[in-house]
């Protein structure tokens, strides 16, 4: 079985996660021949492969071209990592359109020195208007979410690939795997902010009033962020059968807040809801992007 790993607009974290498999990667490589992976090794692109793993988001016309080309070259296409699956962190750029992005980066941003207001002159592939998940452009055979995908999941995926068994993502939520989940009904008694307020790492973070996306996020990561003392940011994407992560999380917060101890005004003071609740999934959400001033043409 031949395998290619191609990156789109990405940070190389996904490739690192594959390398992190360590010894078990060696046993994978007994059955799988890695023929192309520009981030990891130097080899010319093949004519055809059995499996193509694509990492990163579709941000440029080149990325779009690459995705379509690889779809034609491979039998199994894998969207690897949150960027490929839902747009990921770069997907937050969908709160601006490509013109606004260029204006911000090359003219307005603090520290930009560009007195003539010149646009960049180097020939690079043009930005697409907005970031889209791979599955909205081509048929995706398998999606491995996560930023980066958890090692256990990658191993399981390779095992399934080699043995020919079906591979399925865990359907339960992060809360289901969380060591801080007592199993009882959650009651939020006050909204708190991560940077300012003291945190008790032995109790459910959401119950303490920190916005933890566990209830709206697919498990499979073993609640690794929470185990490291940080609330879930939702990188595994939305739960099975749910369409919109922010909508789901808003429901969860509304049902869990104590009516006596949390005032409506406390919830109205929450800031940057799109940034926090769609941190990894904005392009895959119901709207997909910011609407005003974002029309085509």
């Amino acid at each position: 079985m031949t395998l290619a790993i191609e990156h789109l607009t990405a940070c190389a974290g996904c490739e690192n996660a594959i390398l992190d498999l360590g010894d078990s990667l060696l046993s994978v490589l007994r059955d799988v021949e890695l023929v192309y992976a520009p981030i990891l090794m130097d080899a010319p692109p093949p004519e055809r492969v059995d499996v193509a793993i694509l990492t990163g988001a579709i941000r440029t016309e080149e990325d779009l071209e690459k995705v379509k080309r690889w779809r034609g070259k491979c039998s199994i296409l894998v969207a690897f990592g949150s960027c490929a699956c839902f747009g990921g962190i770069p997907g937050l750029a969908n709160l601006l359109n490509s013109m606004e992005l260029l204006k911000t980066s090359y003219l307005e941003q603090l520290g930009t020195i560009n007195p003539e207001g010149e646009p960049p002159r180097v020939e690079v592939p043009a930005l697409t208007d907005f970031i889209k998940p791979l599955s909205r452009v081509v048929k995706v055979d398998y999606a491995l979410p996560g930023c980066p995908p958890p090692m256990k999941l990658i191993s399981k995926f390779f095992e399934a690939l080699i043995s020919g068994e079906e591979f399925e993502l865990p359907a339960k939520s992060v809360c289901d795997e969380c060591p801080l989940n007592s199993g009882g009904e959650k009651v939020i008694k006050g909204i708190r902010r991560w940077v300012y307020d003291e945190v008790d790492l032995s109790k459910c973070l959401l119950e303490q009033g920190f916005i933890c996306l566990g209830p709206a996020t697919r498990g499979g990561c073993g609640a690794r962020c929470i185990k490291a003392g940080y609330p879930c940011r939702g990188c595994m994407g939305v739960l099975e059968g749910v369409e919109d992560q922010a909508a789901k999380m808003i429901s969860a917060i509304a049902s869990a807040t104590s009516l006596e101890e949390v005032a409506l005004e406390d919830l109205m003071r929450l800031s940057d809801l799109a940034g926090v609740l769609y941190r990894f999934t904005l392009p895959a959400s119901i709207f997909g992007r910011k609407v005003r001033g974002a029309r085509r043409g």
Partner: protein
């Protein structure tokens, strides 16, 4: 008045807001029913969806209504303290508060969503709420989502 703003006013006049109304079975919907029985006149722009309780409304329902081309979403439930299921309307109120913040981030005016209360005996109040809301949406103009997201 300048010609351009006159033109815009003209466009506004022709604009017929499309409103999706989520009404709870016990109060909002009963109030709408009463308004009908009383033969009250109120704008016909509202398409009503009956739900058992406003607490059942998922924020995704509201987002999808907007994506489908609604210019406004009106939610009417029982008065505070009167919910058939005790606290459903309070939960709905909280969802709407957070949805307004989210809509703003996504480029939609928060006023395009409204939650209000009308008991089963308040047909007039229901008619007034619809009238007010339609007027507000007419002021805001067509939703910027109309036909934009659908094509993609």
């Amino acid at each position: 008045m300048e010609a351009s703003s006159l033109g815009r006013l003209d466009l506004r006049k022709r604009f017929k807001p499309r409103i999706i109304g989520f009404l709870c079975n016990w109060c909002g919907y009963a109030a709408a029913d009463l308004a009908g029985t009383m033969r009250l006149r109120y704008p016909a722009n509202i398409r009503i969806v009956r739900v058992m309780c406003t607490g059942r409304i998922d924020p995704a329902h509201v987002l999808k209504a907007f994506k489908g081309g609604a210019d406004g979403v009106l939610i009417v439930g029982c008065h505070p303290g009167d919910c058939h299921y005790l606290t459903g309307n309070y939960r709905a109120e909280r969802k709407v508060a957070m949805l307004k913040l989210l809509l703003k981030d996504l480029g939609l005016e928060p006023d395009r969503i409204r939650i209000d209360w009308a008991s089963a005996g308040e047909g007039e109040r229901f008619a007034r709420i619809v009238e007010e809301f339609v007027r507000r949406i007419a002021e805001l103009g067509p939703s910027p989502l109309r036909g934009v997201l659908v094509e993609e």
